[in-house]
Amino acid sequence: MASSPPPSYRLLGGRIPYVEGPLKVTGRAEYTDDIQRPGMLVGRLLRSPWPHARLTSIDTSAARALPGVFAVLTGEKYPTPFGVLPITHDETAIAVGKARYIGDIIAAVAAADERTAERALELVRVDVEPLPEYSDPRMGVAPVSEPIHARGLLGSNIQKEVVQHFGNVDAAFAQAAHSVRVRGNFAGVTHAFTEPMATIAEATPDGRLTVWSATQVPHYLHRALAEVLGIPMHRIRVIKPEVGGGFGGKSDPLPHEIVCAALSIETGRPVKILFDREDVFYTNHGRHPTQNDVRIALDASGQILAYDIEALIDGGAWSSFGTVTTYYNGVLAMGPYRVPNFRYRGRRVYTTKPPSGAMRAHGGTNIRYSIEVALDMLAERAGLDPFELRRRNALPPNSKTVNEFRITSTSFLPCLAAARAKSGWDAKFRRLPYGRGVGLGCGFYISGSNSPIHFTPKMPQSTVHLKVDMDGGIAVHSMQADIGQGSNTLLAAIVAEVLGVDLDRVHVQRVDSDVSPVDLGSYSSRVTFMMGNAARVAAEELRAKLVAAAASLLERPGDALEVVHERIQDREHPERGVTFLEALHRAMESSGALTASGSYNSPAIGGTFKGARAGTAPAYSFAAYVAEVSVDDETGEYRVAKIWAAFDCGRPLNRLAVEGQIEGSIHMGLGQVMGESMNYRGARLFNPSLLEYKIPMPQQMPEVEILLVGEDDPEGPFGAKEAGEGPLIATLPAIGNALYDAVGVRFTDLPITPDKVVKGVDQRRAEGRPWKGR
C-alpha cells in the first residue's frame, strides 16, 4: 500500500528520561511505606499454618485484653466475597469458616506498635479441624471429599474449564504430513518486585475512608473496598503513591488492603499494614504452575494445519484472574501464525496453595514455550529452517484468526528478517560446535484487553483530564498507574507533544480517585495504547482552544496556524506568531483556567460465541528472538551469551522505556528458564525468600540487541502498541531451542536447571543419539 512517510515528532520516538527520575535516584520518591500519618497504628495479620482446615473456633479475648491492642478482627465481620473478576468472587478479606492455604489470613490486629501487634497475634487461639490437602491439580479434577470452594465444578476443585473447537482438528491431523507432540511442565514463578506490599488506611470522622496502597490497579481496589466494606465508592478515596514494581502481583485487590481499611474503621485511627518478604511470597498471584500438552499438524508444504492443546493449570486457593488465565492458555496461541483448525481444553484447578494470578505476559508464556519448541521439532522433521517454517505461516496484516481475533498491524515478517540477519543465524544454526547453539522463539501478545473487566454498560477504559491556569503549568489527571514502566513520562510527553510545549510545563498528578478520572490501571499491557489515545484527545481539545485564541490575537483563521515549540504561528509567515503563554492568557479571558478531557474506548470486535472476548485486543505485539547459548555438559551449567530481540510495538514512543521493558522482560523470562521456581513440598511453599528464590544476577544477563521494526499501528496513539509484557514471551523458547541446538536435548520441564541438562545429555547418549559428533 502506497502511503506518505510516517510523521515525525518533536519528543515522541526519542529517548525521554523518566520525569520522576530525579526523585527516585535521590530517595525522594514517596512509596506507601514512606508515608506516616498522625497516631497511626500497626496492623498485623495472623496467617494459617494449615493448608486446609475448618476453623472451629477463634478466641481473640486474650489478644483484645492486651494493653496497646486497639482491634482484633476475624472473618465474620466482613464476610462479603470479592475478587478481581466479578464472575468469580471467592475471596474474603479474612478467612470465613475455613483456611485454604498456608498463609491464608485468619485474624488481624491493630496495635500501638509492632511488638504489641506480634504479641497479640500469639494470643489468638485458633482451633481447627484439619481438612484434606490438595497440593496438585490432578488431585482435584474429579469430585473430592472436601472441595476447596463450594463453587468447584461438580464437587471437584475445578475452578474453570474451557473447551473450544474451531474447524476440524481430527480431520486435519489425519491428512498431516508431519505432526509432533510436546508435553510441557512449568513450575510456578512469582513477580519478585522489590517493594513489598504496603497499605495505609484512614477512616475519618466525616464518614470518609482514604486508602494509600501499593497497587497497580487503583480502580479495582476502589471497587472491592466499597463492596466488602459496604461504603459507597464516593466516600472512599484511593491514592496510589510510587509503586516499587508490580508485574501483575499488585493488580488484584488484595485481602490485606481491605483488612487495613477495616481495622481503621474499627479503631478510628490510621492503620498501616506492611508486608515482609514472606508475606509477599505467600500472597503470590504469580505465574501458574502449568502442564500443557500440545500437538501440531503440518502439511507437506510446511503450512500449519492444526493445534490441539490441553492445559492443566494449578490455581492455588483463589480464582483471582484464573478464568482469564484458563482462556489465555489456549487463545493466546492464535498468533503469530495462521492456525486454521484449533482445539483447546483448559482446566484451572484450585489447590491448597498460595493463589496464582496474573504475571507479566499472563497466560501467554507457558503455552508459547511448548508451541515454539514443537515448531522447532516440526521444522527439523520437515527439513525446513525454523525461520522459514515461521515465515510461511505468519498471520497477515488486516486478517482474522479462526476464533475471530482481529489482526490489524503486524510486522512479524520484518521481526523474523531482522532477527535472522542480525544474529548471523545462517552461519550458526546447527553449525556452531557442540555445546554452543542458537535458537529461535517468537511471541504474540495483546496490546490491552479489549474487554474491561467491569463496565456494563460500557464506559471508557481510560480518561485523561487536563487543567492549565495562568501560570502555564499543565496538570494532568488520570488513574493510569505508573509502577515503573514509565507511563507518567509518556503521559506528559504526549501532552507536551500535542501542545508543542516543554516537558517541564506538564505535571502528572499522583493517582487519587477524588480527582483522577478512571483509567483501568496497569494490567494486560494496556496503558500506552488506551491512556495514550485518551491523552492525545484531551491535549488536542486543549490545543484547539489555544489555537482559537491565537487566531483571534493574530487575526488569522485557525487553520492557517501551526503549533510549534512553545509558540503558535502563521504557517506561511512564521514570523507572525504568539507564544504559548500569550495564547493561553487570551483564551482565559472568557473562561478562566482551561480544562480538557479525553477518553478511549476499545472498538467492538470479536466473535459472539461463549468466551469470544477472551484475548481480543485492539492491537497485538509480535516478536522474534534468537538466543545464543553455551553449555558445559559436565556440570549442566549454561550461559545465555546474547539475545537478538526483534520486536513489533508499532512506533516506539519512548525508546528508553521500550528498551527498559524489553531488557527487564528478558531478565524475567531468563529467570523462569534458568532457575526460578516456587518450590513446594506438598502444599508448603519451601522457598519464600529472595535468598532461596533466586532471580538472575547481573552476571547472568545476556548481551541484548534490540531490533525495533514495527510500523505505525492504525489505532495506537501515534502508532504505538504495547511493549510491557509481550517482550517476555519469546525469551523462553529462544533459549530452550538454543539448548537443543547446543546439546541435542529437548527440554520441556521448566526451569531448566543444570541437573536436568546433565540428565538430558546422559539420556541422549544412552539412547545412542549422537549430536554434532558427541
Binding site: Y18, K24, V25, T26, E195, G660
Partner: protein
Amino acid sequence: MSSPEPLRFRLNGHPVEVACDDPRILLDLLREDMTLTGTKRGCDLGTCGCCTVLLDGRPTLSCLTLARLVEGREVTTIEGISPPNGLTPVQRAFVELGATQCGFCTPGFIVTATALLRDLPHPGRDEIERAVSGNLCRCTGYRKIIEAIETAAREAP
C-alpha cells in the same frame, strides 16, 4: 526496662544523638526514628540490597546491622549522598540512561555505585557487576544500571 545510653554517631556528616534500644535495627532507626525514608526496606533479610547505606564509607546492609554497632561511626544514606541541589554524576547517569524504573532498588544501587567509583574510579564491567551483585533489580535486567555506572565513571576526572 532501664533506658539505655543514647546512641551517638555521625549521620550524613552531622553528629546525632538518639535514643536506641539494644535490639534496634539500623534500617528501622533510619527510616522510622530519623525519617530518612530514602533507604528502602525490601526483604529485611539481607537478600535484596535495597537498604544499603555506607558505614564508614563501606556499603552495608542496614537491615542486618544492629543500630548499636554504629556507635561512634559514620553512616551515610542516600540523603547524604545527594547534593542539596542537582544530582551527582552517578545519579544523573541513572536518570538519563533509564537505569531507574520503579526506583525502589535505586537508592541502594546509587549508594553501592558511589562507593565503588570512589574506590575505583574507572572500574571494568566485571568489577561493576561484582560490586552490585548484592543489589537486586527486577525491572531493568541490570543492563542500563551497569551502563549508567560505566558512563558516570567515564565522566569522572
